[in-house]
């Protein structure tokens, strides 16, 4: 920069530091500063003149300066005779360049003092101007980065499932917590023919918009392949071949893909280099290990396929690096051992697995550090088998009410709609009344035994009395018209009511005990039959 009264003007471009972006400075010349035909020239930061000026205490006569400096040559050639450093806060922030006096005389000592005073005032002002300019540039750059992050996040969220399907006998829960610099985590749950379910978790290396776009593409190809090729290994191979040609170099995608048959619990899976899923089964911890290279490295890869059965009471955890690689203040990693131990605590539901993992992670992680990587969790749990309730009731009128409320409590939350729970309650009360009245003849020494069981697909209530040595009650279908006409007893509604309320009912006698079993299919909490 140059200012001078009564002298020719040259614009000198000098980069004060690397942080100063030169382009804006050079691109905004004030018209009155540049005379036609004069181009600005640059002073290299390591030019000896810079150091000389930094150390100088006042104006420097360039005509008398002996320094091996290209800048000095250029400045002399441009006609600059006097250079007054602008120093602010001990730092050289600019140079006040002055050409020869128009009168051709030397600059006097008074002239020097005037120029030095001018410099002393100008230097801080110049520095402030530079800082403002730098800040503006930085805000612009940060704004662009924030925008890129926002775009990446938008892409990513658009390609994550909006809701998880309801699976009777199973629980699904997921968590996606992106890092600030959005990474390439993704997960998916794909509804396949014949009631099967595809489960996906994956991670694209790198961050930002490129990673998000690769993630979106991978997910889409995977969905399309899954619909056609049901075998997980074949799906990953197809996705790999599709992704390889276009994926940026040094970028790859880890991905675990499994197909679940909820009816049988069979799970077929393949893994392209993703974190090994962890299991907690009733008989202990397990893993789903299958070998395979990450996607996007080389076409023509094949992926090992394995199969297992997910038994009742088993929890499956799919997770991304963000969980196990999170570290605490001592740089120790959360790790898969810690993760497995949370699972081993056998949380009651898929959602509580997630809640406990995240709570544990938040307690563990270095509070000063920002979350570095996306955290993705996908938890699948097959509901527990076996007894939900087992109890005995004395044969006394009114005790069927207790049977009703205990059965209702036992089936709470397992997947029956409120309407169907009411029906099961009514059926239970009727069957219990029959057991007490007809089976046990209201003998207070005889009990009715009631057990509630679920296999994840169906809940059954069995009611046992001591009337096994008699014929089983087989009431004729009640005919209300006959009853109203007095030709049939007004009673006899019990068995009919039971059969109308439940999905299936059977009874058997073994000579001493008589058992009635009531069954209701679990429907995941909603009942279309109840909708108007």
């Amino acid at each position: 920069m140059a200012v001078t009264p009564r002298a020719s003007v040259r614009r000198v471009v000098w980069r004060r530091s690397e942080r100063t972006v030169p382009a804006p400075l050079a691109a905004e010349p004030q018209p009155q500063e540049l005379l036609a035909g004069e181009e600005p020239f640059e002073i290299a930061p390591n030019d000896p003149l810079v150091a000389y000026l930094q150390a100088a205490s006042g104006a420097i006569d360039l005509t008398r300066l002996d320094l091996d400096s290209p800048a000095l040559q250029e400045m002399r050639a441009a006609g600059i005779t006097l250079a007054i450093p602008l120093i602010a806060n001990g730092e050289l922030v600019g140079i006040l360049n002055v050409g020869p006096r128009l009168s051709d005389q030397d600059y006097s000592a008074d002239d020097h003092r005037l120029l030095e005073q001018l410099a002393a005032h100008a230097a801080p002002a110049v520095r402030v101007g530079q800082l403002v300019r730098e800040q503006q540039v930085e805000i612009q750059a940060r704004g662009r980065m924030e925008q890129e992050l926002a775009v990446a996040r938008l892409i990513q969220q658009n390609f994550l499932p909006k809701e998880l399907p309801d699976l009777p006998g199973w629980q699904l829960a997921a968590l996606y917590r992106p890092a600030r610099a959005v990474g390439g985590d993704f997960y998916d749950v794909i509804e396949l023919p014949e009631g099967r379910l595809g489960l996906v978790i994956g991670d694209v290396t790198d961050k930002g918009v490129p990673a998000a776009m690769v993630m979106a593409a991978t997910r889409s190809v995977l969905r399309a392949s899954a619909a056609r090729l049901h075998e997980p290994g074949a799906v990953l191979a197809r996705v790999n071949d599709s992704v390889c040609p276009d994926i940026p170099e040094n970028m790859f995608v880890t991905c675990f893909y499994a197909v679940l048959d909820p009816a049988s619990g069979a799970l077929r899976y393949a893994n392209a280099g993703h974190n090994v899923p962890l299991l907690h089964t009733p008989s202990g911890p397990a893993e789903l290990r299958a070998t395979g290279m990450p996607l996007g490295l080389m076409p023509g890869m094949s992926y090992e396929e394995k199969e297992t059965v997910i038994d009742a009471g088993t929890t499956v955890l799919l997770y991304s690096d963000g969980l196990v690689e999170a570290h605490d203040a001592r740089r120790e990693m959360y790790g898969s051992a810690r993760t497995a131990s949370v699972l081993a605590g056998a949380p009651a539901s898929s959602q509580s697995v997630i809640d406990e993992l995240i709570a544990g992670l938040d307690r563990f992680a270095d509070p000063a550090a920002e979350q570095e990587d996306d955290i993705t969790l996908l938890v699948l749990r097959r509901r527990g088998d076996g007894a939900l309730a087992d109890f005995k009731l004395q044969s006394a009128p009114g005790n069927e009410r207790e049977a009703m409320s205990r059965v209702a409590a036992a089936v709470d939350g397992i997947g029956l709609s409120p309407e169907r729970i009411e029906r099961l309650k009514t059926a239970t009360a009727e069957a219990t009344m029959n057991a007490m009245e007809h089976g046990n003849r209201y003998d207070p020494d005889l009990y009715v035994s009631i057990a509630v069981r679920s296999d994840g697909r169906r809940v059954s209530v069995s009611i046992v009395d001591h009337g096994g040595d008699r014929d089983m009650p087989m009431a004729p279908v009640p005919d209300i018209e006959e009853k109203l006409a007095g030709r049939q007893s007004p009673r006899g509604w019990g068995l009919f009511l039971i059969k109308s309320m439940v999905d299936a009912m059977h009874q058997e006698s073994d000579g001493s005990r008589h058992t009635v079993v009531l069954e209701m299919t679990l429907e995941g909490g909603s009942d279309d039959a109840d909708k108007p």
């Binding site: 009410r401 207790e402 009411e422 509604w493 019990g494 009511l497």
Partner: protein, 113 residues
């Protein structure tokens, strides 16, 4: 387990006998329901208000059938209100609803609109 034996409170509304029922309707409800029914004579319509009833079992159905049989003989139209969705379903499955009129919730006297 608490059982609440049936209370049947009667009042006259226009030309109808309104029977407000509170408690359980099982075999023990016969006396209370029968007495309430008898408050009015032949030809007088009966409105059974089940709003205060928490439990109806098969023996209770039998009691209601008994009342309906008498009402038929007495030419007294019977209607019902205040039934929960579950008990409305039971009335339908047993065809009780063919022999009394179940008032839709919005038609119940004093129902909020």
């Amino acid at each position: 387990m608490t059982q609440t034996s049936l209370e049947a409170l009667t009042r006259q509304a226009d030309d109808t006998l309104v029977v407000e029922l509170r408690g359980d309707i099982d075999g023990d409800a016969r006396e209370a329901l029968g007495a309430a029914y008898d408050v009015a004579g032949p030809g007088v319509p009966v409105l059974l208000d089940f709003g205060g009833v928490g439990y109806i079992n098969s023996t209770g159905i039998a009691v209601i059938v008994g009342v309906l049989a008498r009402a038929r003989a007495d030419a007294r139209p019977v209607s019902a209100m205040g039934l929960s969705a579950h008990y409305r379903e039971i009335f339908e499955v047993t065809r009780l609803s063919d022999f009394l009129t179940i008032l839709p919730p919005t038609d119940e006297p004093g129902a909020a609109t």
